[in-house]
Subunit: 133 residues, 2 copies
């Protein structure tokens, strides 16, 4: 049975710290809990100085859109700075990392397929100050 | 073969008017043209006074996030006003419409599965002033 229509407001879902990252948190805003079938929309926050170290997902891609702030990303070894409105496609297997080198908080959306698994291969140790539960 | 990583900036893709709607345009920001496999990210603009009339998609769902502005939406006959940060899940088969009753432009993202087809059942005639090519 398909899910019901749902509106999720910014305060409805708490963001949780991202393991192995520094200054990063993530909230699942549209996911299996509310009946979404095929892809999951998550909201990421990256504080000034924050970093999600390099990793890749062998089996799943990302579609991302920056909402606010500017961050430096690396895609397959190529660094660039992205700001509000930038849309990013990261194919399965592509090494990537994120870092907020600015003074303003960064927020971006990240959509992933709802595969039931979420394999991650870390290519870098957690940065100093990372959340490592 | 998986696609390459890609960054698409707001000015990179032109928005095209949405047929049967008034004051609405849409740009595919991450789609099959750049090799995305499973789901497509689109950016919608709805000018003050704009309306996308009621319709439903029997076979595909939407995941949406409002970027700026406030709009009135109807989901399965229930109206509500949504603003920046609101995330919306519209399951397959759910009747929905959008209207900008405010003074500011509205922008929202809409992610859909990449099924190769995009069946739409219109439940309402185009509003006055609609784009009907």
């Amino acid at each position: 049975m398909p899910g019901e229509a749902k509106v999720v407001l910014p305060g409805d879902v708490a963001a949780k710290p991202v393991a192995r990252a520094r200054g990063a948190s993530m909230a699942v805003v549209l996911g299996p809990d509310i009946g979404v079938p095929n892809f999951i929309t998550r909201r990421f926050f990256l504080a000034p100085g924050g970093r999600i170290p390099e990793h890749r997902h062998p089996d799943l891609e990302h579609e991302q859109v920056v909402i606010r702030g500017e961050m430096t990303i690396s895609l397959d070894g190529h660094e660039r700075v992205v700001g509000p409105g930038a849309a990013i496609f990261i194919p399965a297997g592509c090494p990537h990392w994120y870092e907020n080198r600015g003074q303003e908080p960064v927020e971006f959306l990240c959509v992933v397929p709802n595969t039931g698994s979420y394999a991650t291969e870390w290519l870098e140790d957690p940065p100093a100050g990372a959340y490592t539960p």
